[in-house]
Amino acid sequence: MPYIYMNIMLAFVISLVGTLMYRSHLMSSLLCLEGMMLSLFTLNALLSLNMNFTLSTTVPLILLVFAACEAAVGLALLVMISNTYGLDYVQNLNLLQC
């Protein structure tokens, strides 16, 4: 496998780990979600160009559209949480345990 694809997949894995392991802010998890999306966008664009998948050249754009919608919804939820608690600390989200 060419080195560039492995590089971008490594970026994806790092963003994935960043989504799962964050210290206190929910915002960092949302940022890593966008990082995953960015690495997917780059990988798809490179694949469409290098392997001449001419019909798949719109795929990165479609991914971008859906990721933008997701980011908007994520930020709206962040705003709702900040409304209640003042911060976006994840330790605050403890109402539903047990």
Binding site: Y5, V73, I81, L95
Partner: protein, 347 residues
């Protein structure tokens, strides 16, 4: 909610699932899953209290991460095979990664941690949509792509789901969490039979959806969300209390009721394929589920907790809540067992 907004949201929910179920290209399927997730968030946040916000956030985070993992699996598949068809995902890395992403979307162990919390944080009607309608799209994708995945992963996840669904529900008093753990357990059964006979997965899904819809509608009718409110149901709606008992027994898989049909056919299919220990473990672990259903039945229909005499004689008001399809669903969820030979219609 504003009727126009509600109709738009429900239409998008329907459209998302149908797009996923009717697609043969992975990108369209992924787009349908995204639409489903995005439009589920306002449904989960119908009431704007902090619990709903927390439930919607947890739902959003897990499902968004699963969508991104699924897209990565599809991109790896594109890299190695050059095509986007759902049924031919031959690269093992891609198909196992997609399997894990779809299992996260379904809420089966070891990716089940969001299900009890999200179901608990929302009202009964959004919880009902979460546990029934949202299973259709990922399972339709799993049904098509499971042939190329590692079956050990499916068995591991299924067995773990049944174990966790059984043991997790034992310590609960909130009905929504009990139904969430019941959902995890049923997903385990559906996953295990997938490599052997995928038609039985769909049968189990259909009967599970009927049963869960009945239970949620009975609970929504009387606004009961915890076990303590269940004890007062005999007074307000005695007929529905009996129906709840029958439907809960059916959910546990007791023989003359229709919940027994999928379990019986699955154990039959597994033993036909010479695997004895796995259906034995599955059947015994499902008894844990049966225990906490029996506890619910005990407190709702079999005993009357101590109360003063005037609490026992309430005014019998006429029911103003819509129980549109409830009688049909209750009959379907309790009396379908004699129709088992008709399963050949599903092939």
């Amino acid at each position: 909610m504003n009727p126009l907004a509600l109709s738009l949201i429900l239409t998008t929910l329907l459209a998302g699932t149908l797009i996923t179920m009717m697609s043969s290209h992975w990108l369209t399927a992924w787009m349908g899953l995204e639409m489903n997730m995005l439009t589920m968030i306002p449904i989960l946040m119908k009431t704007t209290n902090p619990r709903s916000t927390e439930a919607a956030t947890k739902y959003f985070m897990t499902q968004a991460m699963a969508s991104m993992m699924l897209m990565m699996a599809l991109t790896i598949n594109l890299m190695y095979s050059g095509q986007w068809s759902i049924t031919k995902m031959t690269n093992p890395v891609a198909s196992n990664m997609a399997l894990m992403a779809l299992m996260t979307k379904l809420g089966s162990a070891p990716f089940h941690f969001w299900v009890p919390e999200v179901t608990q944080g929302v009202e009964l009607t959004p919880g009902m949509i979460l546990l029934t309608w949202q299973k259709l799209a990922p399972l339709s994708l799993l049904y098509q792509m499971a042939t190329y995945t590692n079956t050990s992963l499916i068995y591991l996840s299924g067995l773990l789901s049944i174990l966790i669904g059984g043991w997790g529900g034992l310590n609960q008093t909130q009905l929504r969490k009990i139904l969430a753990y019941s959902s995890i357990s049923h997903m385990g059964w559906m996953l295990i039979i997938l490599p052997f006979n995928p038609t039985l997965t769909l049968l189990n899904l259909a009967i599970y959806i009927t049963l869960t819809l009945s239970i949620f509608m009975i609970l929504a009718n009387t606004f009961t969300t915890s076990m303590s409110s269940l004890t007062l149901m005999w007074n307000k709606t005695p007929a529905m209390t009996i129906m709840l008992m029958a439907t809960l027994l059916s959910l546990g898989g007791l023989p003359p009721l229709s919940g027994f049909m999928p379990k019986w056919l699955m154990i039959h299919e597994l033993t036909k394929n010479n695997s004895i220990i796995m259906p034995l473990t599955m059947a015994i672990m499902t008894l844990l589920n049966m225990y906490f259903y029996m506890r619910l039945i005990y407190y709702s229909s079999l005993t009357i907790l101590p109360s003063t005499n005037n609490m026992k004689m309430t005014w019998q008001f006429t029911n103003t809540k819509h129980t549109m399809t409830l009688p049909t669903l209750i009959i379907l969820s309790n009396m379908l067992l004699p129709l088992t030979p008709m399963i050949s219609m599903l092939e």
